[in-house]
Symmetry: C2
Subunit: 147 residues, 2 copies
Amino acid sequence: MKDPLDTAYLETLLGYNARRAALTIIARFMERMAPFDLRPVDFSVLSLIRHNPGVTSRQLCNELNILPPNMVVFLKTFEKRQLIQRKPHPTDGRATGLSLTAEGETLMQAAEACAMQSDLSVVERLSAAEQKTLTRLLKKIYQTDSV
Amino acid sequence: MKDPLDTAYLETLLGYNARRAALTIIARFMERMAPFDLRPVDFSVLSLIRHNPGVTSRQLCNELNILPPNMVVFLKTFEKRQLIQRKPHPTDGRATGLSLTAEGETLMQAAEACAMQSDLSVVERLSAAEQKTLTRLLKKIYQTDSV
DNA sequence: TATTGTTATACTCTATAACTATA
DNA sequence: TATAGTTATAGAGTATAACAATA
């Protein structure tokens, strides 16, 4: 019973490599983000709200591929934690504009700095040029896909 | 209500880009693999069995980060589909050696060819050099992590 | 005592149907 | 009629506890 399995074939597959790399990056992210009690999806939602004050729930859903019923739960939790506030939308009576509270702003400022550090810790063995290249190629994958 | 949200910050994060790229690749993979009725995890398990005949359930779990109780369900399904067979392990009475049936071999031969085509369709806008670089950098991410 | 494989079950995440209020 | 937000719920995916058989 040889324990180091032959994974040579799987390693030729882009999907296998991309998934394992993404899992590595996300695992590191979760470790570091634990003190903030933010999962990756929480971070993404709150960061989008931070950089798009007044954004609606539906816009967040479209951008992050989250279904509206699930977003409701996230936003409810953020509101209980007093990280976000809701204001009536200026022109659309159905919608609600979301923004960070002062508390949310303080948290996300620290969390975004933490996220950057997390990234750096993962790619520290890549040269600066390799890091730029990796980001560029990853973007090329998902941006050219929707064409 | 501006619909194209400002995602500039998120796009600076490696995790965000890696996750989106991985989702793109996996979505394409699932589309193409649908005729074989194989999810990514099914493909990974069957491919490992194919290239490691006699492998045990526990070894597959270790390699793919799948918990034993969940693997039981997968293997049960494969057995019902007559894709794999179980033989008593030659030296360990507790364990079972797994291998593909002729039917499984036929299926996986086609599925692996399909997987390669799926990859190619995703990276077709990358030059050959870029493709090699991307794979190399992705491996560097998850292989250097465990050091 | 530790490990393989297994059952049963709990928990989390994601998806669907249907409703209300407004456009 | 279509859309934003919501509720309730179903389903898929993942995790924990405990067991029998073997090492």
